[in-house]
């Protein structure tokens, strides 16, 4: 799973199979793509209200729950006022 190496110590966004979106700093991973995030927050999206950020702290996510891991461009991410963003939550995975 060499492809996760570049994300260590970076701020990343995690999309899970149940549709949850979590941002945090990737502190580690293993060959099953289990991931450890520090300073993690869940971003809750809805159409009626702006994005809500819920602090989660230190999180270990099982690899089989992961859909996508993206590297955040901090400058772009911080420029966005999450409170103004209205969007549908990401749908859960359906096989």
């Amino acid at each position: 799973m060499s492809s996760l190496q570049g994300y260590v110590d970076r701020r990343v966004i995690l999309i899970l199979q149940d549709g949850r979106v979590i941002v945090g700093v990737m502190v580690g991973f293993d060959q099953k793509s289990n991931v450890v995030l520090s300073e993690s927050k869940e971003r809750v999206y809805s159409m009626d209200e702006g994005v809500e950020e819920i602090p989660l702290g230190l999180y270990l996510v099982k690899g089989d729950m992961i859909v996508l891991i993206g590297e955040l461009d901090d400058a772009v991410d911080q420029a966005v006022d999450l409170g103004t963003i209205h969007a549908e939550p990401i749908p859960p995975i359906r096989y």
């Binding site: 899970l16 702290g57 270990l60």
Partner: protein, 129 residues
């Protein structure tokens, strides 16, 4: 840092475990293995809807059913420090003992060398006889 090093360091620490079906378990970690099978003690269980609760003295959770674990923030620094100590100790002993994720390659190599040594010796004696 390997996820399993973090989990190992979480023994006796409180944690929240959510299963793939949405049930959650709050308790102290008693034990874990490399499959992330875990046992918790003094557990509060909630159902998927979050409206029913159970108290369990102890429970076992199969690793493959876990969605995520939430552990105390302080564990991160504890594991990092422990790894630094182990690395320094390893350097001191000229790599004889290394643990933690930085050493993942090192002990394997050491192990193989160790196993190779006596085996070669054994074969040598066999031919001699």
């Amino acid at each position: 840092m390997l996820p399993l090093s973090l989990l190992n360091a979480a023994q006796n620490k409180p944690m929240l475990v959510e299963l793939k079906n949405g049930e959650t378990f709050n308790g102290h970690l008693v034990n874990c293995d490399n499959f992330m099978n875990i046992t918790l003690r003094e557990v509060y269980q909630t159902n998927t809807e979050g409206d029913r609760f159970w108290k369990l003295k102890e429970c076992y959770i199969r690793g493959s059913t876990i969605k995520y674990l939430r552990v105390p923030d302080t564990l991160l620094d504890a594991v990092k420090e422990e790894q630094n100590r182990a690395r320094d100790a390893g350097r001191g002993a000229r790599g004889a003992f290394v643990s933690g994720n930085r050493g993942r390659g090192a002990p394997a190599r050491g192990g193989r060398g160790g196993r190779g040594g006596p085996m070669r010796g054994g074969r040598g004696r066999g031919r001699g006889a």
